[in-house]
């Protein structure tokens, strides 16, 4: 990866961070402009930016209820993401989907399931189609460690391997960090496997476990997986380990503990609030990359703060535009239940 590419991906990660903070601010707004609840991906920006960088333009991306960062990294516009989360007409699905189900077919995001594990089989299906249609695309599906508790996960891995489908299973384990494992020998409190990666290995999948806060590693391994899938060597499984952001309380994330990320924590960690300091030091992929770029002289502090100011301004404008977007017209509620059939081709 070149310095220019790395700096570009830092900006993507910064945009995801500021987008997610904008989402949390809206979610915590006492006026409750967001009807539903939200799930954010703070701490998982390197996985989103790095994995999406490995995909080509015709490739398929499937994601989860925790999708904002993935959609943005794939090329989504913040205004349209926020408008969807707010249930507005300018959202990617005109307010029908909400944040749970953002679909952007133009970016290869055909459908987003908020059911844990729901997208895993669909991604294998898109991979099946692309291999059958001979267009040499791949499908990459993000899912959390919890999805591995679902039956559809095991069924899908089995079929994907049997049929050598060009699909990359990208599991984001955001429960624990490598440094903060639970003491009972299992990687999560809910799965019996000693290592979650034992499960895809048992099915014979090429499997790698990576530090999901290390951007270069995410890019390198995902590129390898995508190339293998594209070359017909079958599915690939990646476990990307990140540490849970302290503000991540399930569907009620909060900025109350830490406030917004101050990019200056990259060089003055002691100014970070106590509740976030350890995480900001060890587990924040954004600060980790920023420190590296600064430390190697590949980016100046001023440049970083300038970019951050630009991104903050972008998200402020996006939030404002999304709030200004009209609500959908009530009378259209049942208009899209069934698709109009295709007409017979003239004979």
């Amino acid at each position: 990866m070149t310095v220019v590419e790395r700096v570009g991906m830092l900006e993507t990660m910064l945009r995801i961070r500021r987008l997610e903070e904008a989402v949390v601010k809206l979610a915590e707004d006492p006026a409750r402009p967001i009807r539903g609840h939200v799930h954010v991906s703070i701490g998982q920006e390197a996985a989103a930016a790095g994995a999406c960088a490995a995909l080509g333009s015709g490739d398929y991306l499937f994601t989860t209820h925790r999708n904002h960062g993935h959609v943005l990294a794939r090329g989504g516009e913040p205004t349209r993401i926020l408008a969807e989360i707010l249930g507005r007409a300018d959202g990617y699905c005109h307010g029908r989907a909400g944040g749970f189900h953002i679909a952007v077919p133009a970016l290869g995001i055909l459908h987003t399931s908020a059911i844990v594990g729901g997208s895993v089989a669909l991604a294998a299906g898109a991979a099946f189609a692309t291999s059958r249609l001979g267009d040499a695309h791949v499908a990459l599906v993000f899912f959390g460690d919890g999805a591995m508790e679902e039956g559809v996960f095991s069924e899908t891995l089995n079929i994907a391997q049997l049929w050598r489908l060009p699909v990359v299973f990208f599991m984001e384990n955001n429960s624990v960090s490598a440094a903060e494992r639970s003491g009972r020998g299992s990687p999560t409190s809910e799965h019996s496997a000693v290592a979650l990666s034992d499960v895809p290995r048992a099915y014979g999948l090429s499997t790698e476990v990576i530090d999901g806060t290390a951007l270069d590693l995410v890019v390198e391994v995902t590129c390898r997986a995508v190339e293998a899938a594209r070359a017909g060597r079958g599915p690939y499984f990646i476990e990307s380990r990140t540490s849970r952001w302290p503000g991540n309380f399930g569907s009620s994330p909060t900025l109350a503990l830490s406030g917004e990320t101050d990019i200056a924590w990259a060089w003055s960690l002691e100014t970070a609030p106590e509740a976030i300091r350890r995480w900001a030091d060890l587990s924040d992929p954004l600060l980790r990359l920023a420190r590296r770029l600064l430390g190697r002289g590949e980016m100046a502090r001023d440049t970083l703060t300038d970019r951050d100011a630009r991104v903050r301004a972008e998200m402020r404008r996006a939030t404002e535009a999304a709030i200004q977007s009209p609500e959908p017209v009530a009378a259209t509620a049942a208009e899209l239940t069934l698709a109009r059939p295709s007409v017979p081709s003239p004979t």
């Binding site: 398929y60 989907a97 669909l122 898109a126 559809v152 295709s342």
Partner: protein, 343 residues
């Protein structure tokens, strides 16, 4: 016109849609079970071997894979075999395929055909006799087809596989396999969803019958006409979603007396749903309460006597017709002078 079996018409449609559209792929290819119709599928299995996959016993994943493939441009037909097996896949069928189009504001389609064999097949016991048509009708975004004749299975399946852009739950019934009927010579017969068919015209009582109830309703109508002079009209909706409400209501308004019959269970079943629509929209035209003939609300028992007792048979349809025909009619022979004004 040709005289064919239901199974022959089904196999013919499958072969045609495979030949006509390279996007059609089959997930499993038995369709008519292990009975005598099985031989009909051999030709399709051989001719299109490279477009048939035989998935593991994993209904949830292979239905999801078919749905994802449809979203990415294919037109899969999934052979789920017995309808109860589709219960294993409901998270993908109902919670993913059904919602994709509306959820994406019309940007993503999932045109999968889920073929399954529903109902009391004779000795299937509780887990091989299910009738989930009411459930699927209740899932917005799905279409439900219930063909009751050879021509309908061919025309509906061709339309589902070639024209539909929304997912289809396509329900055949083992007791229809031996039903014969005429097939138009028009090889490209396609029946768009949402068009009911008047299977028999009549003036006294409307029988709304779905799927396997169509031949049973015709049998009952023929017995009643011959032996009791009651003239029944048999209306076959053919698809529940979309539903041709105007054709059903027009018949109800003509006769004023209705029996609704389907093999799903009594509670919230298809007969209940159709009866509710008729009551809502044509109460003023009714001369008698609507009667339902469906399956008792109990897990389907195995023993012959028990299963036979809950089947919505031609005899039970005839009894229901007699009840609605005689309601409010005094001093008049059954089948004569049924309009209330004539009493």
């Amino acid at each position: 016109m040709r005289d064919v079996l239901y199974t022959e018409a089904l196999a013919e449609a499958l072969g045609e849609v495979m030949a006509e559209d390279p996007r059609v792929v089959l997930f499993g290819a038995n369709f008519v079970g292990a009975g005598p119709g099985r031989a009909l599928m051999v030709g399709i299995q051989q001719r299109f071997a490279d477009r048939i996959v035989w998935p593991p016993i994993a209904e949830l994943a292979y239905c999801g894979i078919a749905i994802g493939a449809a979203m990415a441009g294919m037109r899969p037909i999934v052979d789920l075999s017995t309808a109860t097996f589709s219960y294993e896949a409901i998270p993908q069928i109902v919670n993913e395929a059904a919602i994709a189009y509306a959820n994406s504001a019309g940007q993503t389609t999932a045109p999968v055909v889920f073929h399954m064999l529903y109902g009391l097949r004779g000795g299937g016991a509780a887990q091989h006799s299910g009738s989930p048509q009411g459930w699927y009708w209740n899932a917005p975004g799905l279409q439900v087809a219930l063909p009751g004749s050879p021509a309908d299975v061919k025309g509906l399946l061709r339309w589902a596989a070639l024209r539909s852009r929304s997912p289809v739950v396509f329900m055949s019934h083992q007791q229809l396999f031996g039903v014969r009927g005429s097939l138009p010579d028009d090889v490209a017969l396609e029946i768009p969803f949402g068009q009911a068919d008047i299977k028999r015209t009549g003036s006294d009582v409307t029988i709304v019958a779905c799927g396997v109830q169509v031949p049973r309703a015709l049998e009952a109508a023929s017995t009643l006409a011959r032996e009791e002079g009651i003239d029944c009209e048999v209306v076959d909706p053919r698809t529940l979603q979309p539903l041709d409400v105007p054709t059903i209501l027009a018949s109800v308004r003509k006769t004023g007396r209705v029996v609704v019959t389907d093999e799903s269970h009594d509670a919230c079943g298809v007969a209940a749903g159709l009866a509710a629509i008729i009551a809502d929209e044509a109460f003023d035209a009714l001369h008698a309460p609507i009667k339902r003939v469906s399956t008792a609300h109990t897990p389907v028992p195995y023993a012959r006597t028990l299963e036979d007792s809950i089947r919505p048979s031609a005899a039970r349809i005839a009894d229901a017709v007699r009840a609605v025909a005689g309601f409010g009619v005094r001093d008049a022979g059954v089948g004569a002078g049924l309009a209330p004004g004539s009493v």
